[in-house]
Subunit: 253 residues, 2 copies
DNA sequence: GCAGTGCACACTGCATGCAGTGTACAATGT
DNA sequence: ACATTGTACACTGCATGCAGTGTGCACTGC
């Protein structure tokens, strides 16, 4: 609740360059949404875990009202599932769900890369290369969390390069929902991923639409394949401790 | 509020086949969401129109709470825009927004048709042909509203034929958001649209992935082109009466 | 006239309270 | 032992109320 300096009144008539409080301070509902999303994406809440309103309300030190709104928003995004009169749970994704999302994401990343290549805006490209360089230095050695952030940064920038914000928003959502599983990569994987990023960027710079699309699409499928291979014997993605699995989890069948 | 027969208690021990009330009755929040979505899509609320919570609450005869939740959900779907402390408005889409959505939708419909052709499940295909036939009879002569419904039915079925529910959900959302503008078609247009549907279906039945994808994609672009042509001089899509335009509407510039 | 100030109204953001529903578990009868 | 009923608890759904914020308009002094 970062409303701390409301007490300091304007005393001198000169322009004080006070930051526009009214514009900047977000409603609690939005803050909760962000934090909750972050918490889910970072794995602090595991798939299938119940999200009890009162509990969250105490955790965030707010009333249940903003919590409820946040939960509806996240439900609309697909990160949370709300069953009427049964409450909210972190969304559980089946093997099939993941396959579906990867298929769609591969197509959309392909389209986006194609658009990026078509425009190859020098400004955005420059920024892309900067992230690429930063990643090249850290890639293999980076902590998982750092790597994820860097990866997100690259892909967000690529989306920007595509210049289709609707598309960008959609892939971001898909990436969020699948990101949970892409997390643990060994250093060999990380190197390969980053090399692929470089290849994509090269194609974008060259304005080679066809190649950029192909590479970006394949980039998603590759990561997906590894993921699906790892999980081929379990229908649910994350390993739930026995007895704590979401109801209906095929692992219990 | 269809809770009408709660009074009828089970009196005889035999199984009464009473429908499970607990499962079926939706929370007000969901009902409001649906009705509001329907109202926006059918044009009963025009783009940029303010959606005042208290007003809606009285309209639906509920409190502001479920209204707020519905608004957040629709905002997450992109049908409504919520500015903190300024309230909600029906989303206004710029020329660019529409271009972007059409581009994405064309790609996704293409992917979906490809998948549908790959599976060409006889059962779904049979249903497709039934809708197609019904449409062929009515197409040109149908009332606009009827035509839209029929069109939606066809596309939903096609999505089902694709077998990727995530994808289906995404194209449905895109179709919703663009549907507003596709509405007024003359009978020549309607005939052409329906002929294209038939072509797509044929390719799906033949299992010709490439053709199905191409046709479906082009189908979207065609409709989009007409739309964009019509609006090429106005940046905002729907004609707002002068003085009632959403703030920032380029038509006022 | 016209910038600046104060005020009133409209609306959103949020907390609180209560009724209704789902669920687990003990009590009861068979 | 087992099905059935009763009951207590946990939680969601929703209404209500109030504080805070945005906005338009009258008022003031110039």
């Amino acid at each position: 609740m970062d409303i701390d300096d409301l007490t300091t009144e304007e005393t001198s008539p000169e322009v004080r360059r006070a930051r526009p409080l009214g514009r900047t301070h977000s409603p609690l509902c939005d803050l909760v949404t962000e934090q909750l999303r972050e918490a889910i994406l970072s794995g602090r809440y595991t798939a299938g875990e119940r999200l009890v309103e009162e509990q969250l309300a105490q955790e965030f030190a707010v009333s249940r009202n903003p919590i409820r709104e946040a939960l509806r928003i996240l439900a609309a995004e697909g990160l949370v599932e709300v069953r009427p009169r049964h409450g909210a749970t972190v969304a559980v994704m089946s093997h099939q769900d993941i396959c579906e999302m990867i298929e769609v994401r591969a197509t959309l990343e392909g389209l986006n890369a194609r658009l990026a290549a078509r425009r190859h805006d020098p400004k955005v490209v420059a920024r892309l290369e900067r992230v690429l360089e930063k990643g090249r230095r850290l890639a293999a050695g980076a902590a998982p969390k750092e790597f994820i952030a860097l990866n997100a940064e690259f892909h967000n920038l690529l989306a920007e390069a595509g210049g289709n914000s609707t598309l960008g928003e959609m892939v971001r959502s898909l990436r969020d929902r699948t990101a949970l599983m892409f997390s643990p990569v060994d250093s060999v994987e990380a190197d390969r991923v980053w090399a692929e990023h470089a290849e994509i960027t090269k194609a974008v710079i060259a304005g080679d639409e066809e190649l950029a699309a192909l590479l970006a699409s394949r980039h998603v499928v590759r990561a997906g394949e590894r993921l699906l291979r790892e999980n081929e014997c379990s229908d649910c993605v994350r390993g739930f401790p026995k007895g704590k699995r979401p109801q209906g989890c095929p692992n219990d069948a």
